[in-house]
Subunit: 163 residues, 2 copies
């Protein structure tokens, strides 16, 4: 049973739902279903590192963009500023990052990863890559690239985000 064709079928006595013709034709529906799989897997993958999706993303972004401001990070991650505070708090409390003063702007903090932060990001990323590989092993690399290109195209058009 590779693809769903019928909307309903019978096994013995019980009716089993097989999706919906209409929804099956919607791109966003497939996007959501695939997203669910990735999200559940990612959650489990990050659990050993005591990271959530957002804290992981923030950590990696800080590692690769030293000196980043919270507001910039919030904007990049499409997260509201107040919510970014607690994410940063979490990472700072675990001493994975530091809030350093910015000489040119005393309101702002420059975010920097500590050595522990960089190491954790590295380890977590390896785990995430491994798990992605497991999910994607049936999709050849060039297909993956093609899909990513399509997704990026969609985002840059529909999202209005120039980044």
């Amino acid at each position: 049973m590779t693809r769903a064709q019928k909307t309903v079928s019978n096994i013995g006595d019980t009716v089993i739902v097989h999706e919906s013709e209409t929804l099956d034709q919607l791109f966003g529906y497939h996007l959501k279903r695939a997203m669910n799989v990735f999200q559940m897997d990612l959650k489990q993958t990050l659990k050993p590192f005591d990271l959530r999706m957002l804290t992981y993303t923030a950590l990696v972004m800080i590692v690769e963009n030293p000196g980043l401001r919270q507001s910039q990070l919030a904007h990049a991650m499409e997260v509201e500023r107040p919510n970014m505070v607690v994410i940063i708090d979490t990472l700072e409390n675990r001493e994975l990052i530091t809030r350093d003063p910015v000489v040119t702007d005393r309101r702002a903090y420059a975010l920097n990863a500590t050595l522990a932060g960089r190491r954790l990001a590295e380890k977590a990323t390896i785990a995430v890559r491994t798990h992605e590989e497991r999910l994607l092993h049936a999709v050849p690399p060039e297909r993956r690239e093609s899909v990513i290109a399509a997704l990026t195209l969609i985002r840059t058009i529909g999202g209005g985000e120039t980044t």
Copy 2:
């Protein structure tokens, strides 16, 4: 500025984040970003019909699978049963669906769409398709099919859902 290459660049005096090398290499990251775009758009698209993503999905599934039970729908939508109750309540209160008794099982309800429900589903679906078209217009149909096929492949492998 179509694609991000550098992680950080300077415009005038302010540092601007351009994503992250590491995250950019992750399939799930692109999936999530594209998903955000779709989700925000869908939310706006369904607002005039006073439907949310889940109520829309449930309504369409009921329209196309008459007689469906709540638990079957919950399973198909990957939603917990208690949460399905409120979704069904909402649709029933608006008289878009009915909970009909099942002669063979007095515990269960057979879900059926009313005429109003079918009409609303139809109108909403047209709107959703239109909005998807706008988001996807830069992606040629065969690319879309290819992406959907890849997403389905991922789901059937990683998700474990035979459905």
